[in-house]
Symmetry: C2
């Protein structure tokens, strides 16, 4: 297994060679990696390799890896699959340690030729010291070393690491999460995983001081027992979110076509989650949801939730959602109810929990009194404040005042109870969609665990609580 120092040369290479860079690029490949590295301001030496060119993007070009003036810390291979074995052999000869194979066209094609090539490179890799990411993947993206895989990734450095067999997932997630104030320490797309495995990356991230949370997207899994043990250990210090895809019959077939992986059985993965306490997730959105929870919530206690919202039918829906996500919405204490009734009239409202009171939602000082009373109710362990955003606000000033007050309240929450915000409601117009998206960005960028729907909020809160329940066992 690769140690932390060894993989450092992969994540922070002093020199990179790109095999398959082209002076006149058509299509998508090595030239993109070259352009993106330069665009991002990568500071190390960059060596294009192409036997048909002498200069590419102003850089001297070399005919092959063997003729490079130094041993590059990282070689990116981006040529058609049939040429990959020879480049790998050259890398072995030259003493290269880290290789990323971007090229696809191996066993994931399901064709005889691809399978043969796959066997050939697997043989070269396993009989060498090469540390290979891929093939059939976008490779690695490290904001701290300006190592890029797409060219328009977020520039910020954060504390979430992503280990993904899909490169697209990495791109989609990082750009989506950025809007919510979630940034990444490192992103790995490792495709068919013929060299470095999930276990190698997990070991690195366990020790990586930049990384505080780890998200994994797995299509297949090698060394399952080892990975399970590692995640069980790492998860206690750094929460690990695991999305295992391909657990349905149709998904398993898709996995085979994508990375040539064997998807595995659902019961094995159930045991994995039970044993490790890793947070199960099922989408990119949910990875971001969990990162928001772990980034912003400090404490977790019981499952008795206060639901503070507006609308009668809407409140019932919110309560059903919470129940289905394993949360309880108990009655508030008699004392809280009587205090609330002093300023929220009985008819047309409910102060029992869910607390359904438009008047409180619309008026900053009533909202303040309602929050203080209900959040501190002894029947309550956690809080979901629902902002029903379905039209553009009638009174924008008041709307913003309530939201600003809410941010202030949650940021200075001394109750030791996790507080999340949900933005429920089906939108009535494009303008209200915009309002909701802007409000979600406002809350999350202010450091609040806020969610686009109550389902997202309740699910994230429930899994956050489950994580702490697991640790407390």
């Amino acid at each position: 297994m690769a140690s932390l120092r060894v993989l450092d040369t992969l994540f922070y290479p002093k020199s990179v060679s790109i095999v398959g860079a082209s002076a006149n690029p058509s299509g998508w490949g090595g030239s993109n990696f070259l352009t993106d590295l330069l665009k991002r301001g990568y500071q190390g030496n960059v060596y294009p390799v192409n036997p048909k060119a002498t200069v590419i993007s102003g850089l001297k070009c070399y005919p092959d890896v063997k003729s490079l003036p130094e041993i590059p810390d990282l070689v990116i291979i981006a040529i058609p699959a049939p040429g990959v074995p020879q480049v790998l052999r050259d890398c072995v000869t030259r003493g290269v340690k880290n290789v990323h194979i971007f090229s696809s066209g191996f066993s994931e094609t399901g064709e005889e030729e691809g399978r043969k090539l796959d066997a050939e490179i697997t043989d070269i890799i396993s009989n060498s010291d090469l540390r290979v990411v891929g093939p059939n993947c976008m490779g690695i993206w490290v904001p701290g070393s300006k190592l890029t895989y797409w060219g328009d990734e977020p520039k910020g450095i954060g504390s979430l690491a992503l280990i993904s067999q899909s490169g697209g997932h990495g791109e989609f997630l990082t750009l989506y999460a950025q809007q919510l104030g979630i940034y990444f320490s490192k992103v790995i797309s490792f495709g068919n995983a013929r060299g470095l495995q999930a276990s190698d990356f997990l070991e690195y991230f366990a020790a990586d001081p930049e990384t505080k949370m780890i998200a994994c997207y797995f299509e297949g899994m090698k060394q399952g027992g080892k990975v399970t043990k590692m995640i069980a250990s790492i998860n206690r210090a750094k929460p690990v979110f695991v999305w295992k895809s391909g657990l349905t019959p149709s998904g398993a077939r898709a996995v085979s076509s994508h990375t040539g992986s064997l998807a595995g059985e659902e019961k094995i993965w159930k045991a994995f989650y039970a044993q490790t306490g890793a947070v199960p997730v099922n989408s990119l959105e949910e990875i971001a949801d969990m990162a928001l929870a772990f980034q912003h919530l400090k404490h977790a206690g019981g499952r008795r939730v206060l639901l503070l919202g507006g609308g009668g039918g809407n409140s019932v829906a919110l309560a059903d959602i919470c129940s289905r996500e394993g949360l309880d919405v108990p009655r508030l204490t008699e004392n809280t109810r009587l205090e609330l009734n002093k300023f929220i009239r009985l008819a047309g409202n409910s102060v029992r929990n869910p607390v359904d009171a438009w008047s409180a939602q619309d008026t900053p000082d009533l909202f303040h009194k309602t929050l203080e009373l209900t959040v501190n109710d002894p029947n309550i362990d956690a809080v979901i404040i629902d902002r029903l955003v379905w039209h553009t606000p009638d009174d924008r000033l008041k709307f913003d005042q309530v939201n600003d007050y809410l941010i202030d309240f949650v940021k200075h929450n001394h109750s030791q109870k996790p507080i999340v915000i949900s933005l429920s409601g089906v939108n009535s117009s494009l303008a209200s969609v915009t309002t909701k998206t802007e409000l979600l960005q406002k809350f999350t960028r202010a450091g609040i665990a806020a969610y686009a729907s109550t389902i997202n909020a309740a699910r994230a809160l429930s899994k956050f609580i489950a994580y702490h329940e697991f640790l407390a066992r």
Copy 2:
């Protein structure tokens, strides 16, 4: 039970009296109903009732129902709950037939006073010929008679009827659905249901020529056996979508606070769905989703779905989603695969199903060839075309060309296979959220069953197929 002709005077009243209209309105109540009726251009006679005023909004005001110059077809009661029994008695005396009680403050408050008032009005109603909607509800909204309950409802008339114990749900749903080209024949908010029951409205809608689909939101249910039988019968001619809330412990408590209803047991409702074949839904969004399916899809066959999208990891996710929604994503025939391979290269793509080929998604003529080949594959019964919208399009012209072509293809689909469009992808910016929302509106308004996510698309398609499977049994 009320017959079609009898309820016609409720839905198309020639005169309306509003008890609780006020010349100088503070808060929300009778004056809103009056204002909204006038604003909407209601053509019948309108009689405000208020003992403290002589003229309201330019209309002569009457001290009570007994002194009105004619028997109004509909009386709307919007005064505090304690005064409601006397108005009901006046209605009986005057010979009024249809009453909507907007007022709340009855048994849903959980307080002794509210329960007493509830018993009192229930007694009056059951010993009279009054047809009462409510109390604690927004009443009825009929675009065809300009009868309004909110004042800013969509103006269009459509074929979906809504029977809802929540008025908010009616408002949210109608404005949301309008964006997707779904309009309503009639909307009923009937709150605590102390008079007219779901069965009365169902009977009306079964015969109503305007109504082609019926959506129900139930918190509680009286006459369950009768309603089950009615829906089992109606559903064969007009699909009935039923959202039963309060089936979780927390939801049941919320139901009791909202409309004072008994939520009932989950197993009873499972039997209800099994017996009636009604389409189970769980949110307003899902009601709109099902309306889109039934409004735009003509045929339903088997469950073998073609998934046409882009992105490797994304395709796996789409396949898992379909499987979880009860759909199968089988391999395409060898012939289709070979034909696709002639213009979609093997490396980095998959033509097996999911068909993952960026090149085809981005190029109108390749997209056309891909669609023609795959939709007509004999292994396929239904189609989900996924447009992965996660950023703003790099080439807007091409993007629009592909979308326009897609609309044309789906509208002229002669395959007898249902085709739906999903817009997957987590968004990278507010601009991409806007793009996605606009695209969803464009597709749906063009008469296509299009959905904001693949989960929504797969769920709606699966339930649409299930409905037809039930009918074919």
